[in-house]
Symmetry: C2
Subunit: 160 residues, 2 copies
């Protein structure tokens, strides 16, 4: 599979908000998903661990939902940067959080291969974005989803 290029969007989150279990670079227990702008899409690759199963041989749906979720927030953050004329990597990006998430499990996702998560922003305003996503393995789409991302509200800006 091609190597993804450019800085990972999650590595540009403000330090105080880089602890997400799904994608924060500062969460050593987490998945550390890395999403990259590639043309008009945002793409990530992720290989589940052997224990990330629903039933033996198939990827846990909760993990798939988590990856879709974090990837969508990255896509929203990147889109907000591009919308104001900045390039990804020029500075920090804004942190988005999930208002709503919908995931459809089109078919079982076999464990063992690298997953590709693709996202595309379908609606965008100053504080909100809607992102359409797919997860595929070996070229077969197994999951589709949609997430509504909102700019992180002030009431989440506290220290844990």
């Amino acid at each position: 599979m091609d190597t993804l290029k450019g800085p990972a969007i999650q590595d540009l989150y403000p330090e105080d908000f880089a602890h997400c279990f799904g994608c924060g670079k500062d969460n050593s227990h987490g998945h550390q998903l890395k999403s990259f702008v590639q043309g008009d899409e945002v793409i990530a690759h992720f290989t589940p661990a052997p224990h990330h199963v629903s039933v033996p041989g198939f990827v846990y749906g909760g993990l798939l939902a988590s990856l879709v979720d974090c990837h969508a927030m990255a896509a929203a953050a990147a889109a907000a940067e591009l919308a104001v004329g900045r390039r990804i990597g020029e500075g920090q990006v804004a942190r988005y959080v999930t208002a709503a998430l919908r995931v459809e499990y089109l078919k079982p996702t076999p464990l063992g291969g690298e997953l590709e998560i693709r996202g595309r922003v379908t609606e965008q305003s100053e504080k909100k974005a809607v992102v359409a996503l797919t997860v595929s393995v070996s070229g077969t789409i197994t999951v589709s989803g949609e997430a509504v991302a909102v700019r992180m509200p002030k009431n989440m800006e506290r220290r844990g």
Copy 2:
């Protein structure tokens, strides 16, 4: 919080399908969610770990989606037993898998307390159920969701 009574639904899954990362008793790396029939609802309690954060101080949305998902499958499995007149604990229950999951994050879920996940089956047929769910902490509902559960298809009955 009251102690939940009766056998956990997930402990009644067939041994071959008790490895789910979210709720399988045989997945030592996983969350081991336990869901209990209480009246006409299914209820689970879960305390997130300190690293289960989205941003500091708040529970990771991917974990919340995962708990909603597993809890819904348990609710569907229990409902199928009750529909044919069996009591929960009399024997194994069928394994359901997720066809679709929708989660709405109504407000940030603060880290630190025990979560309560409640589910209620709203539609039920022989091979499918729809489950409506909430997650609350300290009596405040922070997440609502809906899951479509389907009886595990034969093509998932392989060994990993």
